[in-house]
């Protein structure tokens, strides 16, 4: 196989649909009549050529590969005998074509938005110094609807939040923090494929919330099979690896 053809990196595509659209354009084929065998082969070549790509990204491209192979298989099956009251045979490509066409529309809108963004980056609004404007006003009591008790309640709420274990009412908000911590751990592992130390993850993280979030992020990554842990001796430090870098 001539690999120079596939210099384009998977990362340059906005996902499997984008890659498929690229292949359709490159081959100058009709989107309503995609030569599925040819396109599937090229698609798989791209995937095979892609090196060390993000697991998240990979799974998305692999799902599409499976879909393409399923369509290809269906197209190879002998067509069932025609039934009289069913004039239209269902084309196995139909659903994919509809998705591609819809996705292409949004891609075009995204181009349009990019143009508008560029245009707007050349216009400026006033840089208003609010403090200068309000200094001549009659002083407004900024806390007119706040009592001392309110102030105490807010302070207590923060103390409770900072000292309690993850409070139930905070879980939803902290979802963000978990994904951030997950990204942070994965970044760390990408930069350090030889693995990270479990202890190292928890030093320098000063708040309790962060410690908990980091730990939850670890559990979530293990559950998602993205990382593996290894402990060489009892009570020894635990090493964390990317699942793909780890051979057990």
């Amino acid at each position: 196989m001539d690999t120079t053809k596939y210099q384009i990196q998977l990362e340059n595509f906005q996902g499997p649909l984008d890659l498929l659209l690229h292949l359709i354009e490159k081959n100058e084929v009709d989107i309503y009549d995609i030569p599925i065998a040819q396109i599937t082969d090229q698609y798989l070549d791209y995937i095979n050529e892609a090196k060390n790509f993000d697991l998240d990204v990979a799974s998305e491209f692999l799902v599409m590969a499976a879909t393409l192979l399923a369509i290809k298989a269906k197209m190879l099956l002998p067509k069932p005998p025609k039934v009289d009251n069913e004039d239209l045979e269902e084309d196995p490509r139909e659903e994919l074509v509809a998705r591609l066409i819809e996705y292409r529309q949004y891609k075009q809108v995204a181009y349009y938005l990019r143009e508008k963004e560029q245009e707007m980056s050349t216009v400026f609004v006033r840089d208003i110094d609010e403090s200068k404007i309000i200094k001549d006003f009659e002083p407004v009591n900024p806390v007119s609807n706040v009592s001392l008790q309110d102030l105490w309640k807010h302070f207590k709420a923060i103390l409770d939040r900072a000292s309690e274990l993850v409070p139930v009412y905070e879980l939803e908000k902290e979802e963000i923090a978990i994904t951030q911590c997950m990204a942070w751990i994965l970044d760390g592992l990408n930069n350090q494929p030889q693995g990270l130390s479990f202890k190292g993850l928890f030093t320098g993280r000063t708040t309790r919330i962060r410690l908990i979030m980091t730990f939850l992020a670890l559990l979530e990554l293990i559950k998602q099979n993205k990382i593996r842990c290894r402990q060489n001796k009892i009570f020894g430090d635990i090493q964390i690896y990317l699942a793909e870098d780890c051979e057990i």
Partner: protein, 175 residues
Amino acid sequence: MLFTDDLKAIIESLLFVSNKPLTVKEVSEIINLSQEETEKLLEDLYLEYQKNHRGFTLAKLAYGYLFITKKEHAPFIEKLYKPKLSNLSTAALETLAIIAYKQPITRSEIELLRGVKVDKIIYTLIDRNLIEEVGRREGPGRPILYGTTRDFLQYFGLNDISQLPHPEKYALEEA
């Protein structure tokens, strides 16, 4: 009773101290004039600024009016001013395009259309105040629904969401 010119000057002063578009309603409440009359004055001002050869102009953005500089002056202003926020990624723009047309929409519906995960992008867009939570879809898990904000309109220089080109327009165009 204030004269038209006085009212116009007042409106101008309000626009001058705002860096967000002011709506007819906001202005009418401040100057204590009916919304129709206020709108007429704002339109007058708008037309005056369209004609004038000045260093800034009045734009209709995000359902309101906002003073902005002109494109041709950008090279000079940039010498005085630091460049603005970084541009959005293509992934962010595609996600925004979908939200703009399909709002209110859930994260998983966007992911279906784009074929990729969008959780990180969603947080970025919320952080930049381009989208916001607008409710919950009834049903299992009651997923969050997202919609675009007024800042979205301002960011892309739109007055109204209907100014976006219709995506079907692109359906027939062969790539």
